[in-house]
Amino acid sequence: MIGQLNKEMVQYVTPEGYLTEQGRSCWRALPDESKLQFYRWMTMVRLFDRRAVLLQRQGRIGTYAPLEGQEAAQVGSALALSQADWIFPSYREHGVAMVAGMPLSQIFLYWMGRVEGCEAPEGVRLMPPYVPIATQIPQAVGAAWAAKLRGEESVAVAYFGDGATSEGDFHEGCNFAGVFQVPVILFCQNNGYAISVPFSRQSATETVAEKTAAYAFEGVRVDGNDVLAVYDAMRQAVAKAKTGGGPTLIEAVTYRKGSHTTADDAKRYRPEAEVKEWVEQKDPLQRYVRLLKAEGLLSDADESAWEAECKERIDLGIREAESATPPPATHMFEHVYAQMGPNEWRQRQQCEQGGGQVG
């Protein structure tokens, strides 16, 4: 809805696992294989995430940003993209990265403080995590703009959080997107908090979606824990962008079950009852499993088989990451410039000799 304040939240699957009316028509149109993909990826992402938190506790990776609770928003949106589409993620989008084709070992390497973990395989248009908040937004707009100018059929997606909507980069990005009508999708996972700061302190508007009224493009608010609704919203936004319809902002309303990072303690700032409600009643995976089981598409046995398979792949990813030969210290001089100049070359030699850089 352009130029209107849209505060309605789209929902296809209720927290209890029932299809809403809108949900039913989407459901009917989907092949079973796609329905199962949602489940498989969400499970993979969740198990990866839990394992990563454990690895951090064991000192095998550094500070890590958990995403449990946001699987539907990430998986549903990423599955609506294709290989030609660009992804500009934040630091919490491991789920998006996996679906896009990032090997698990790379994601682990990144959190082991290894720059090699930033590199996506060839053909995967996934940028490294954007740590400074909202900085990816204008860049995604630019990538989409380039697609438009070059006549390429692709979209660019910026993933960011509710806190990011306070930064100038968000507003400047939105404005460019609106003015130049670029095929960009601004995908905001509104998990209610920017570290400890609740959305009410971030913005005086009730929703993120309504902000696009000021930039004259569509803002959609979906239940971010409803993988089907997220997928469909994203699918529509992509189709619209690819046919010249311009930008869309999708606000996926969700919640991170855990702390901001492994260095944070969410108990300091989130009411227990609120956490309990999201964890016990609104879980994205649980509701979807209920639906699949009710529809006869998933059995307990399928579930444990798939979980075992995920665990194996995760183990393999960890083994690969942990056995990846660490580059020498001089690796920090690689790829700084297209060609190393005399100053970097001299310092590289000093670094190689392990120190003294007099002169």
Binding site: Y110, I133, G163, E167, S196, V197, Y269, Q347
Partner: protein, 326 residues
């Protein structure tokens, strides 16, 4: 006196400032209920309330810009930028305005405020959290820049910064937040801006460092002292204005200088110090001034941060080379 860590000393200074000066406002991301991501503002919101310890939206240009406005209209903001690495959206407000309002209003509306920011590496932080871009600010006329290396200095410098009529960038070495405890005097105590601290006294060589490099420099000097070579170790504390007197006096005594900083070498503060020494003590030098610094590369992710940051071995080698110069 209480035994405090550096971050506790900062907390103590903020508490004292909030108690003593009703104009003082603490604001920033997560500084309120959460007490700051490093707990620097722990307990302040509970004591002083939502109008004096303020969780802001996530926007550095907003934090700095509104702080300047508050300063113009009679408050004394102490803004926290969560990491120095994330200050860049606020840079325009700092460089164009905070630094120049005194000049542009001919002394009528100076931006009298403090901006605190944790900086530097050494704590295995995630990517893009560990910049040491102090020289960006030192380069800007109108700003003062300080960084403590001890809990006592942390408190004294912060209170002096709050009491200072000019905008002060107060940089907090994350590596040292909890590394030592020491006795910190109670109440309002100041360490004057523009005064360096002698960490060790010696005759043969001068080592100049600041922030997280102070213990590194000091340890290297100690190792040389065990071998019979005594060094002056200077903790600058104040990066602008510089304590020229202490620096030059020491250089005139020793004739040999090693400067240590974590920031990359090119156009780092070491270059400015070297020029200062050339201008004021050239004839006393017995060797070229040496610099031990981070390399001229983007700060690497943490797997390589130890190789990037100057360590005792690198400083010690530099001392050796400068001593050997004839």
């Amino acid at each position: 006196m209480k035994q405090l860590t550096l971050v506790q000393a900062i907390n103590d200074a903020l508490r004292v400032a909030l108690e003593h000066d009703p104009r003082v406002i603490v604001l920033g991301e997560d500084v309120g209920r959460n007490g700051g991501v490093f707990r620097a503002t722990e307990g302040l919101w509970e004591t002083f309330g939502d109008d004096r310890v303020i969780d802001t939206p996530l926007a550095e240009a907003g934090i700095v810009g509104t702080s300047i406005g508050m300063a113009i209209n009679g408050l004394k903001p102490v803004a926290e930028i969560q990491f120095l690495s994330f200050i860049y959206p606020g840079i325009e407000q700092i460089i164009t305005h905070a630094a120049r309002l005194r000049t542009r209003t001919q002394g009528n509306h100076p931006a009298s405020l403090v901006i605190r920011a944790p900086y530097g590496g050494g704590i295995r932080a995630p990517e893009l959290h560990c910049d040491s871009t102090e020289s960006l600010f030192v380069h800007i006329p109108g700003l003062k820049v300080v960084t403590p290396a001890t809990p006592r200095d942390a408190k004294g410098l912060l209170l002096a910064a709050i009491n200072d009529p000019d905008p002060v960038i107060y940089l907090e070495p994350m590596r040292l937040y909890r590394s030592v405890r020491e006795e910190v005097p109670e109440g309002w105590v100041e360490v004057p801006l523009g005064k360096a601290r002698k960490v060790r006294e010696g005759d043969e060589l001068t080592v100049i460092a600041w922030g997280a490099m102070v213990p590194v420099a000091s340890e290297a000097a100690l190792q040389w002292e065990r071998q019979g070579v005594s060094c002056d170790v200077i903790d600058l504390r104040s990066l602008y204005p510089l304590d020229e007197e202490t620096i030059i006096e020491s250089v005139k005594k020793t004739g040999r200088v090693v400067i240590v900083h974590e920031a990359p070498k090119t156009a780092g503060l070491g270059a400015e110090l070297t020029a200062l020494i050339n201008e004021q003590a050239f004839l006393y030098l017995e060797a070229p001034v040496a610099r031990v610094t981070g390399y001229d590369v983007p700060v690497p992710m943490y797997a390589l941060e130890d190789a990037f940051r100057p360590d005792v071995k690198r400083v010690s080698q530099a001392i050796e080379q400068v001593l050997a110069f004839e």
